[in-house]
């Protein structure tokens, strides 16, 4: 398996570290870039290409749904799989995220197994 370049977007640095650890526990060989909100993430993507994006929804400045919406408008990023990881696990949020282009949805609190179960399929693993 080749190295996966992942972008983790969450306003909590603790949560970004937990998500990274869960991805490594899933057996992924990772290189990680991070952002604290959607606007920061778009800036990070300006200078980096990634294979996978995991994003929170409820963040200051630009939330995760708006971030996914803007991603779809950038041609070179349109095919990058996005998995939402969030406390906002209501049905309407899930439907909205998926309709905007997200490929998966994990509700906090989560186990490393849940991360593995949702992330590996979107990477075709």
């Amino acid at each position: 398996m080749s190295q996966i370049r992942a972008l983790i977007v969450d306003d909590s640095s603790v949560m970004r570290k937990i998500v990274e650890r869960s991805l490594r526990q899933a057996g992924l060989d990772l290189s990680v870039v991070e952002a604290g909100n959607g606007a920061e993430a778009l800036g990070v993507l300006d200078g980096n290409s990634v294979d996978l994006i995991l994003s929170d929804i409820n963040m200051p400045v630009m939330d995760g749904l708006e971030f996914v919406r803007q991603l779809q408008g950038i041609e070179r990023l349109r095919g990058v799989p996005v998995v939402m990881i969030t406390t906002e696990g209501s049905e309407s949020n899930v439907v909205q995220a998926l309709s905007l282009g997200a490929k998966g949805y994990i509700r906090k609190p989560f186990t490393p197994d849940q991360v593995k179960e949702h992330v590996l399929p979107v990477l075709g693993l």
């Binding site: 909590s12 640095s13 570290k17 200051p60 406390t87 906002e88 049905e91 906090k108």
Partner: protein, 166 residues
């Protein structure tokens, strides 16, 4: 898992039941600690213990449930929580303890509303705010019910309060 249903478009005041909502709040808290920290919270015996609420995390709820969820604990407890979440020694935890406490409060609030069927789609959470120190007071602009559970994490008390606005 949804364990209590709210009627669509029914005012919260008509739905509130302390005997049901209090154990749901306790369960929501226990699940977050079990899943994210690998810790089983115990019931807290408070007799004779000094009140150590040095850290306070606040998460606002707006919509079908309006109010504030508060998680309060000591500095040592907040450090231990961050240490457990990050898998590192408590003495190496710096400002991550604030971040961890806010995120835990956020997950408790999200888990709580998810257990009230019908609340999830009609209730939004704010980004958490963390207050360090004890010399402050909060004043709600609208009266309402308050429920509180006191649990024990690694020998230290945690206060989880849900203040509902009418």
């Amino acid at each position: 898992m949804t364990i209590h249903s709210l009627s669509q478009n029914t005012p919260l005041a008509a739905e509130f039941d302390r005997d049901i909502w209090t154990p749901i709040l306790a369960l929501s808290t226990r699940e977050v600690f079990q899943i994210m920290l690998g810790s089983r919270l115990q019931a807290h015996e408070s007799a004779g213990e000094p009140d150590k609420r040095e850290f306070t995390a606040l998460v606002g709820l707006a919509g079908s449930i309006c109010g504030v969820l508060c998680l309060r604990c000591s500095d040592a407890a907040a450090r231990n929580m961050a240490a457990k979440m990050l898998g590192m020694p408590a003495e190496e935890v710096g400002s991550d303890s604030w971040d961890a406490l806010g995120e835990i409060a956020n997950m408790i609030a999200g888990n709580f509303k998810a257990k009230l069927s019908g609340a999830g789609d009609r209730c939004m959470l704010s980004v958490p705010t963390v207050i360090v120190g004890t010399d402050y007071a909060t004043h709600s602009l609208s009266g309402g019910e308050t429920i509180e559970v006191v649990l024990e994490f690694e020998g230290q008390a945690l206060w989880v309060t849900l203040e509902l606005h009418e």
